[in-house]
Symmetry: C2
Subunit: 528 residues, 2 copies
């Protein structure tokens, strides 16, 4: 299957990938057996977990990897030294010689462990770097953001992604909707995302709709058919309830807009109530129409608050809704309060502490742009070539790579919580449930722990072996998996304040191997 976005093709990469490939080719090294790890160094948003996303799109890219003739001509125009042989090599390129091991989409993943391992011919694996980083980075970031907001909002609340207008480009919008949904959002306002990925969509009206009416005389139609098909004068009914409830001073244009909307969507009335004055006009106008609709056999859906003190307004609005229900003997218990307006993770926590009556949060800018941290910072590092390990040294130990091909196992405790992930060399005996295993901190030699897992989960799946080795998982399947993964985490790993880092450890053999290479490669200083 092709990637969903036409920009996803072999040219969606940095020029240096191709100049390096050209040099590998010219020096006869392009077919060397290479292993690259894709990982990140730090969880985003000050947290201690990340939700992996973008895997299915990355696999689609790998499956269709092919350069067109025009693209090859372009490449040769920017690399005049590229000869006919290299051109032919480019034309024949595909991923039939590549193996991709990757963690399952929706997995909770952690810094420094390879979330993807790419094996194959050196030059080709190099070419894949930028595109794979692009395809996994933002999706994982926004899925994590949504997951964090879902936790902050609380279990019985809904979150809807509202950010299409503020996203970083058209794909930023569509990807935001897709991967917010994966991370735990309940839906989106973005129709393109709904259409392409079968994500629940929602949305009702903007201020402009309400402002487009200036009075009741602008209504061309006064009537509505009730749920049984009988026609009533809706305007008359609404004005009667307005009178009875004592809401004399509401804005007539706003009321007209609510009536018009109710005539079009009697089953799904949800009105925006802050255009003129939330409590003096918007909520009263909604209630007049809601009572009329309910009496005619319909169930109004609710209101949306888009400014002001959302905790306070939601509480007062709820009381007004309940009072109106009580006055007319109607069950308004299912009426929803939606809130939007620059909501972020901190707002969600703060609202929860204050107490509020909001059922659904519409979240735009902060969700889609990941304002708190707009990039995950994934990297793709060479760890082995022709079966020889490679290590990237750095003054900062945290930036050093863990050399060689590695497998990753999640060690799960008896209560079902993951205890640690362990990285080991492929020829080591795999960890086994019920057997004690010694886990090393990657950089601090005295930090070691014995772990006896109740269950052991291999994390890297062979998803591509010259062809897809299984199905590309459906978005909803990944979403369910992400929810399950997050629910399995110990609470101290996911709390907002000072969460406990999850342990990413090395087997004794891998620890010794890495530190041996480190000592071998690092230059010895000299003082005189």
């Amino acid at each position: 299957m092709s990637p969903h976005n036409g920009y996803i093709n072999p040219l969606l990469t940095d020029q240096y990938e191709f100049t390096m490939a050209c040099s590998y080719f010219c020096t006869g090294r392009h077919g060397d057996k290479a292993v690259f790890d894709l990982f990140f160094r730090k969880n985003p948003f000050g947290g201690e977990y990340t939700v992996l996303a973008g895997v299915s799109e990355a696999l689609r890219f790998i499956e269709k990897y092919h350069l067109t003739e025009n693209q090859i001509d372009y490449l040769c125009s920017i690399m005049p030294r590229a000869d006919m042989k290299f051109k032919k090599w480019l034309a024949d390129l595909d991923c039939s010689q590549v193996k991709i091991y990757v963690m399952r989409e929706g997995s909770v993943v952690f810094p420094r462990e390879p979330v993807m391992r790419v094996e194959g011919p050196l030059a080709l694996c190099q070419l894949l770097e930028t595109t794979l980083l692009n395809l996994l980075g933002y999706p994982s970031l926004v899925a994590t953001n949504a997951a964090r907001m879902r936790l902050a909002a609380g279990k019985n609340k809904r979150i809807v992604e509202f950010g299409a207008r503020r996203a970083q480009g058209p794909d930023g919008a569509v990807s935001a909707a897709r991967y917010s949904f994966l991370g735990g959002a309940d839906g989106t306002s973005n129709l393109m995302a709904g259409y392409a990925f079968d994500i629940p969509v929602s949305g009702t009206q903007a201020h402009s709709f309400i402002q487009s009416f200036s009075g009741l005389d602008e209504l061309t139609e006064r009537n509505i058919d009730d749920a049984d098909g009988k026609t009533h004068d809706l305007v008359e009914a609404v004005l009667k309830y307005r009178d009875e409830m004592g809401y004399g001073n509401t804005n007539d244009g706003e009321l007209a807009s609510f009536i018009a909307y109710a005539q079009t969507f009697p089953e799904s009335l949800l009105t925006l109530v802050d255009t003129y004055d939330t409590l003096k006009s918007g909520v009263p106008n909604f209630l007049c129409v809601a009572v009329a609709l309910t009496k005619m056999g319909y169930a109004p859906v609710g209101i949306r608050l888009d400014s002001g003190d959302l905790a306070y307004l939601s509480k007062v609005a709820r009381t007004m809704i309940n009072d109106a229900g009580a006055k007319y003997g109607l069950d308004f218990g299912n009426i929803k309060i939606v809130a939007s307006n620059e909501i972020n993770e901190t707002t969600l926590w703060s609202l929860k502490h204050q107490g509020h009556e909001i059922d659904i949060f519409g979240i735009g800018t902060h969700l889609v742009t990941c304002q708190a941290q707009p990039s995950l910072g994934c990297v793709y590092k060479l760890v082995e070539i022709n079966d020889q390990p490679r290590i990237k040294l750095s003054q900062e130990p945290e930036k050093m790579t863990i050399p060689g091909r590695k497998d990753v196992y999640r060690l799960i405790g008896k209560d079902g919580h993951p205890l640690a992930d362990i990285l080991m060399q492929p020829d080591e005996e795999k960890p086994q449930a019920g057997h004690k295993i010694l886990c090393y901190h990657p950089y601090q030699e005295a930090k070691r722990t014995y772990i006896t897992p109740t269950k052991v989960q291999p994390m890297l799946e062979l998803a591509w072996d010259g062809r897809l080795t299984g199905e590309i998982r459906d978005l909803k399947v990944c979403r369910d998996y992400a929810a399950e993964q997050i629910a399995s985490l110990r609470n101290d790993h996911i709390r907002l304040l000072n969460p406990t880092p999850y342990k990413i450890s090395l087997s004794e053999k891998l620890y010794e191997f890495m530190h041996h290479l480190w000592r071998r490669e690092a230059p010895v200083g000299e003082l005189s």
Copy 2:
């Protein structure tokens, strides 16, 4: 012409645009004459100017506006009340009844003035909202970011966009490259952007290329042809210079990688020098190869620093380069130093203050994600319907809309600097060069200024009148215009610290009109 990205189509919008359109249609209001303003409320990055971008893509979207049958079926599936008449209306939709006035792409623009005015049938203009906001918001943000970084880097420095891997999705990457270039970047590493938009591309090698070599014995080829076609042993030559320069301890794998790269690209050698140790290994290895190449008639391009203290390292590296040139009587004055590694606007200013020897900055994450402020926050507001003005009130005066159809003129002073923009009603006499005009602050009645412009520039162009009224401007034309526009600004508007806000003013007539409506619409409070 079609938009460049397949996601740009009428479904790239919020659901509420279609539910509102449906309700407008069902209540017979869809054809009402509407005017919407697109604007933003605050310049990004704490600055006082914004570079407008995304206009050409928006016009392509308008030109091709059409819903497919599948898309219409999808819309009807989420709006079960939509009937056959509405379905037919959707199928016939195009922008032949729409007028779009827009400021020229690359213009310097300011808060609260309409950068785009959309006129036409209410329902259709409503549908365009989200897509237009998406198409202008991020492009303008990233163009502004690039323009600011260009100013911070200084006139004789080059800036290259390096952020494809960290961008928000594939389109985030391509848009970032495209609009960074518009805002003043000199090129990109992103081949897809280079290919699609003819932007200069650059890039040479990554750490993995260098790490893929562990010693000189891995070189399959020792020779190189000099610029006259004569063959030399490059390895021998390089080792001779290494010996002569006393660089005994450089890393052999790194040296091998530089030699291999030089063999492939003798005309454009630019090496990454921080894999092992910038000053002890990377720069010395580059110089050995650079001396050899130069002696063979080639001109090596330079080095890239990717970690450490960039100011210090660039200065020491420059001295080493000059010393090597002097030792061998070679002109190394054109050798470039490229710096990358988490560079942002603040880093650029700080480097400038410290003094440095960097020629080219490679900027990734901070440029493409606009980390300092990842969204511009454009809005699209109804200002007139059926020739009647609309005003959106708000507790915060800054959030109030300026009602009615407005033209915008830039008043330019005798030294060529813009003095202020003035918004006026279309039936007013236009401002004229040499004639004094009274300019009102939009909200503070005592703040008025007489301005006698030397030149008056109408800012809103009719770009679409049922069809394109002119050519869609080429990216390079927009880029040149942006550079010219930024250069015309008074220095105090563009300085980093406490820049002076540029005046956006109203004509007396518009001021009176707006405040009259404000008093008429705002509810009078009551105390008892």
